[in-house]
């Protein structure tokens, strides 16, 4: 999203942002284990810990894991230089919150509008990781064909349009997709639209207008507000002044929940409820996740401005580690299984990169250079900039 010079990662004793993972490590190192024991998953009362929930939890965990492995790799490729220009923006620390929404939505039926840090949600919704890698690397086989990059990708026809950079302006687009279904008389299908916004994006007029619009139209919109404590370098104290973001939802007449965004169980519960209510016709739902961006704003940013106390607190927990402990504690997975899943994710990412590395990059001489679908309305080449 943001342009910046490449910088070395600060190694200042705090956890450095997104270090490239050693290729063959076990995910449960001693240090990791210690951290997990410090911060336990709070099991939300009433959570069904059997059957369907176990299945959903485990599936979602694996989406999170794949997102983490993929983004670590993208960051490493970015740092190595040459292949990825522009920037890499990861969702480290936000995978549970992101995937917990994505996994509730059915591709081909629901609508999903992922934002900057929603790699995990995208995977959970069903975006192939090839789309991500192709877009970052600019492959002409990717959905954006080198025309747009990194997180600015999507497939509108498959219910997942691409965001534009201007924060807040995406939400109304999701509203429109839901409105279309209503106008087409398809409300009985009970499709839902999920999307995200950050603590910073909340300040945009565009988001205000869109959430209000959804409330007035009582659209089945679910908004995941990822309060990761910072908008780039700006702390929430410079972004809003309300006591609790839940009050924002109330101001629109919209139902809100607050969850610990580092706890997958809590996130799944909240989004299951929100999506169910939206499907049932109860109108827009807001879920606010308390968490911390465990990376720089982009990989060019060392995030040295982040308050160390936040890193050490509940919001600073790594949701992936929290989920691992939970899986082990519940006996839903053994350490060996976790390692196997990790290796599977790595192989999947390896394989996808191997494919994309062989693909062609865009060729300006093959490019249509047409911004309109109606070719007969495109201005003659003499008015359309330099010829090749």
């Amino acid at each position: 999203m943001c342009y910046g010079r490449f910088r070395n990662v600060a190694t200042d004793g705090l956890r450095p942002p997104a270090p490239p993972p050693p290729t063959n490590h076990s995910i449960l190192t001693t240090r990791t284990h210690a951290r997990i024991l410090e911060g336990q998953t709070v099991i939300v009362p009433g959570t069904d810990l059997t059957g369907a929930f176990r299945d959903q939890y485990t599936r979602t965990y694996r989406h999170m894991l794949l997102a983490r492995v993929l983004e670590d790799r993208l960051a490493a490729v970015y740092r190595a230089g040459g292949k990825i220009v522009g920037g890499v923006y990861v969702g480290r620390g936000q995978e549970a919150f992101s995937a917990a929404l994505g996994v509730q939505l059915r591709k081909g039926h629901d609508v999903y509008g992922p934002l900057i840090r929603d790699q995990a949600g995208r995977i959970a919704f069903g975006e192939p990781i090839l789309d991500a890698i192709r877009t970052y690397l600019g492959s002409i086989k990717g959905p954006m064909r080198g025309r747009d990059g990194n997180i600015h990708r999507g497939r509108p026809r498959e219910g997942m349009p691409p965001m534009i950079s201007h924060l807040g302006s995406f939400t109304a687009v999701i509203n429109g997709m839901l409105m279309a279904r209503r106008l087409q008389g398809r409300e009985a299908e009970r499709a839902v639209g999920g999307t995200g916004i950050g603590d910073g994006g909340l300040s945009t007029g565009a988001f205000h207008e869109a959430l209000n619009q959804a409330a007035v139209e009582r659209l089945p919109l679910v908004v995941a507000v990822a309060n990761n404590q910072y908008a780039y370098s700006t702390p929430t104290s410079r972004q809003f002044a309300c006591h609790d973001l839940i009050d924002r939802a109330r101001g629109y007449g919209v139902r809100g929940q607050v969850v610990d965004g580092t706890d997958l169980a809590a996130c799944l519960k909240a989004f299951t409820d929100a999506v169910q209510r939206a499907r049932a016709g109860e109108g827009p739902q807001v879920v606010i996740g308390k968490l911390l961006r465990l990376s720089g704003h982009g990989e060019h940013d060392d995030a040295s401005y982040v308050d160390p106390a936040l890193r050490k607190g509940q919001a600073g927990r790594d949701c992936l580690e929290v989920a691992q402990t939970f899986l082990l504690d519940q006996d839903w997975a053994t350490a060996a299984e976790l390692s196997a899943w990790q290796r599977e994710a790595e192989s999947e990412v390896d394989a996808a990169f191997a494919i994309v590395y062989r693909e062609a990059l865009p060729d300006p001489y093959q490019e249509s250079w047409q911004a309109l679908s109606r070719a007969d309305l495109v201005e003659g080449s003499s008015h359309a900039g330099p010829e090749l």
Partner: protein, 321 residues
């Protein structure tokens, strides 16, 4: 029967709603009230659920249209005044305008912009934004000057798969009348010779076509035959027709109601200077509104924009060369 420009717009929307289930209307006060100018009068009742009142949220209005278009709808957004589209500017130029290029999925939205000056309307209810939107890739900019074009071009706008800005001129709403609506029309992208001539070409669009025609009339009395080209759409701009006319007359005056820096008249002059230089017998000239906000009081307003009188005097200078 006598149909106004405004009524033609209303009828085109009625026709679009009646013939295409994908069409719906969204805008402030367009429902039961029928719109600030009554361009949607009766449509709310005739097409239940498809003519929808919007909150005062231009950004979200356009955003909603984009999403609906992606899902196969054909929204028509009414801005209460073109001037207020400045608040939906980002969605128009950066979201709608880039959609097809980025994703290969077209974005068929129509945004109606009640445009242009009328006496007493002041700086924020008088603007013409055609040239602002035409600057951006991915948008089609229609600027109908006649009752017939208001009708057929709005119908065509809805059918165009790309985001289309329909710049309808408020001054023409009641001032312009036709006896009947046409069955056929020039396609979008083609200019029209509004009046043939041999001594000089005036290229104009929207309300300025009529000021130019009046100027041509005035000069006819002095023995000059002025050709008036009505652009109909400023983007795409029909360079061939412009060049054809200049080939006949050797003299060019471009007239527009937007502010003077850049914009449609600069685009016309540049194209002719670059591609039809040898056709010109005199330096090409242009006339726009003045480089100030559009003044409220009619005394000021009527000299702020080009009029038949200032067009005629520019033409006299051009012919003297």
């Amino acid at each position: 029967m006598s149909i106004t420009y405004l009524e033609a717009i209303r009828l085109a929307q009625q026709e679009a709603l009646a013939s295409d289930p994908r069409v719906f209307l969204y805008g402030q006060d367009i429902g039961a009230f029928g719109g600030a100018f009554k361009a949607t009068k009766g449509l709310h009742e005739a097409f239940p659920g498809r003519v929808i009142d919007a909150p005062i949220s231009e950004d979200a209005m356009v955003g909603m249209a984009i999403g609906a278009a992606i899902e196969g709808m054909r929204p028509i957004i009414e801005m209460q005044f073109a001037d207020f589209s400045s608040v939906g500017f980002n969605q128009i130029v950066n979201n709608a305008g880039t959609q097809f290029y980025r994703t290969d999925v077209p974005c068929p939205i129509t945004v109606r912009l009640p445009s242009g000056g009328t006496p007493g309307s002041g700086p924020f209810h008088s603007q013409s934004l055609d040239s602002i939107y035409a600057h951006y890739p991915g948008l089609v900019i229609l600027t109908p000057a006649t009752v017939e074009d208001a009708y057929t071009m709005l119908l065509e706008a809805v059918q165009i798969d790309d985001p289309t800005l329909f710049c309808e001129h408020k001054y023409l709403y009641y001032h312009l009348k036709a006896d009947a609506l046409p069955d056929e029309a020039l396609p979008v992208g083609r200019a029209r010779i509004a009046r043939p001539g041999i001594h000089a070409t005036v290229v104009a669009y929207s309300a300025m076509v009529h000021e130019s025609l009046r100027a041509a009339e005035e000069l006819a009395a002095e023995g000059w035959q002025i050709e008036v080209v009505d652009l109909r759409s400023v983007k795409p701009m029909d360079t061939d027709t412009i060049l054809g006319s200049v080939a006949r007359t050797g003299r060019l005056l471009a007239v527009g109601e937007t502010f003077p820096w850049g914009g449609a008249t600069a685009e016309v002059i540049s194209r002719v200077a670059s591609e039809g230089f040898h056709l010109l017998d005199a330096p090409p000239q242009r006339l726009n509104s003045k480089d100030t906000p559009i003044p409220y009081h009619p005394n000021l307003w009527k000299v702020h924009r080009p009029t038949a009188q200032t067009i005629a005097s520019s033409l006299r200078q051009l012919l003297r060369y």
